[in-house]
């Protein structure tokens, strides 16, 4: 069953069309990476899912219930982590979670039990000082704890890792990997390596439209454009070699860079042997022959660029 479903969503601010006919669905217990450039409409979409913004057209369903603008009941199924979560600086993490619990309607006992569990999950169990002095990473971790407090069916994270250093990013991704066992996660980002690490499926948004959607592995394979890196024993032969390689019909591009020759082709496993045959025929010494893994970054740049 789809926990989140968007149908033909439209939104513009004045004359600026931000979201144009956006539709996608997120299945239960999956991690959906919502990818796009800055300003592509990721945050706008998330705010519409939360009922903070009114779509001009289209429908959103959370857990089968329609989202209405303002005071939406569907928010009880959702945990939300804003891009830069802000808290009341004069409270301690436990007090903040208690406030959240009171607002959601959990009993104090349940709130307490879950707070202890969640704070230890995000590594803040021994932090009793007030939130005022927290680092960004700590705020982000507390943000995840508060978002999971009411055991939501859907956890929405708006660029959870963008503002963090590499260690902070790793921590957040680790926590999200744990959280995926109890909920469905939708997270937006422009850091593609994060998506590759934890997402099951992705949607790429550009200019308000979804231009690519599906399981991460499928997308990588579908858009397959392999790259072979060649390092020659005698670099002076590179230029001549590239001219010859470019004559093959399956070769899309061949460039010489400092690190070696990069050859882009449609299928490295199938056509690679022809390149190797050429190398042997021409008696060119090779130090290294490597098929580079296709990355989401390449796919992203290709579809967005």
């Amino acid at each position: 069953m789809a926990v989140l479903e968007l149908k033909n969503l439209e939104k513009s601010f004045g004359k600026l069309g931000v979201i144009k006919n956006l539709s996608f669905a997120v299945e239960e217990h999956s991690v959906f990476g919502f990818i796009g450039k800055n300003g592509a409409g990721k945050t706008t979409t998330m705010k519409m899912i939360l009922g903070f913004l009114q779509p001009d057209a289209g429908e959103i369903y959370v857990n089968g219930e329609r989202v209405v603008y303002e005071n939406t009941k569907t928010n009880r199924h959702i945990g939300y982590l804003p891009d830069v979560p802000e808290f009341y600086g004069y409270m301690s993490p436990k007090e903040y979670l208690r406030l959240c619990g009171d607002i959601t309607g959990l009993t104090r006992d349940v709130t307490y039990a879950r707070s202890v569990e969640l704070l230890s999950m995000v590594g803040l169990e021994n932090t009793n000082r007030r939130i005022r002095g927290f680092s960004r990473g700590m705020k982000q971790r507390l943000g995840i704890a508060q978002a999971l407090l009411n055991e939501p069916r859907l956890l929405i994270c708006d660029e959870p890792t963008s503002a963090l250093d590499p260690i902070g990013r790793k921590e957040i991704l680790d926590i999200l990997s744990i959280a995926r066992e109890r909920t469905t996660i939708v997270f937006s980002t422009h850091i593609l390596s994060d998506v590759e690490r934890i997402a099951d499926s992705i949607g790429v948004i550009n200019d308000g439209k979804l231009i690519l959607e599906g399981p991460v592995q499928n997308i990588k394979n579908m858009r397959r454009k392999d790259t072979i890196q060649l390092v020659l024993g005698n670099p002076e032969m590179a230029k001549e070699l590239v001219t010859k390689i470019k004559e093959f019909p399956f070769v899309l591009e061949g460039v010489i860079e400092k690190e070696g020759i990069f050859i882009k082709l449609t299928n490295a496993e199938e056509f690679g042997k022809e390149i190797m045959a050429l190398l042997i025929r021409e008696d060119i010494p090779v130090l290294r022959y490597e098929i580079l893994e296709p990355s989401l970054e390449n796919v992203f740049l290709e579809v967005v660029g």
Binding site: F52, L53, E70, N71, R76, I78, E86, I103, T104, Q146
Partner: protein
């Protein structure tokens, strides 16, 4: 209801931990203490000054002078303190983004307005009661208060004016953006009301009436029945402010 109580509780914690509670109560405590004292000491201070032969005849201070000081302090300095303390009550949370988490948890937006207004009203009431009690005690100690009439009603008028001011701060805060927008708009509206107060015909449909005629009730120059119209107008305006704040805040983009 649950959300309202939780959020009101949070507001009280905020007022205490951000020292607003302490500041407001101490300032009003000082007003209560200072007003009768100043009334008593002012003639002595003046007589101790070298006036180079000028002769100033000062009638002996009475309880009325003490109350005059009291109402002047609260309607001038007191209101400035209230404005400074509560000016950013909603815009602060909006610009910082602290409300987002809470609203995403399903707290109704009307509850935010109501909870904030409740906590502000309670704090204002506490401060005014404290100032009035201290002022009353000291005045009774220093002066003869036998010919004072309608003191409670006069203080009620001042309280109601304050309650109106707080609703105006909330509405202005919802209407404008930025940290000081609410503060500035409130001051502008207050200025407008003060200008309107210059026209005697409009005087009675202006909340300013409740903060500018307090002494006349004490001397018996005005009777409570004279203030019924302004009281009603103010209650209506106050309710209107809160209702429009709720309405506008509900459709505000976050």
């Amino acid at each position: 209801m649950r959300g309202y109580l939780a959020f009101t509780n949070k507001e009280f914690v905020e007022q205490i931990r951000t020292y607003r509670f302490l500041i407001l109560l101490s300032v009003f405590f000082i007003f209560g203490l200072m007003s009768p004292l100043l009334a008593k000491l002012l003639p002595e201070i003046l007589s101790g000054m070298d006036l180079q032969g000028m002769v100033i005849v000062i009638p002996e201070a009475t309880a009325m002078d003490a109350y005059a000081q009291f109402f002047k302090n609260i309607t001038q300095m007191g209101i400035i303190v209230i404005l400074l303390i509560f000016g950013g009550v909603i815009s602060n949370e909006l610009t910082k983004g602290t409300l987002i988490n809470i609203l995403a948890k399903g707290l109704g937006r009307q509850m935010v307005i109501l909870a904030k207004y409740t906590s502000m009203l309670v704090l204002w009431t506490l401060a005014l009661v404290l100032a009035s009690l201290v002022n009353q005690g000291y005045t009774m100690l220093l002066f003869d208060t036998s010919n004072i009439s309608n003191l409670l009603f006069s203080i009620f008028c001042l309280w109601l004016f304050g309650a109106f001011l707080l609703s105006l701060i909330i509405l202005s805060s919802v209407l404008t953006g930025g940290n000081f927008g609410g503060l500035i708009l409130t001051v502008v509206v207050l200025g407008g009301l003060l200008i309107l107060d210059l026209f005697p015909k409009l005087e009675k449909i202006n909340p300013i009436y409740l903060s500018s005629h307090n002494l006349e009730f004490l001397t018996g120059l005005l009777k409570p029945s004279d203030a019924y119209l302004p009281v009603m107008v103010t209650v209506l305006l106050l309710t209107g402010n809160i209702l429009s704040s709720i309405f506008l805040f509900s459709s505000k983009k976050l």
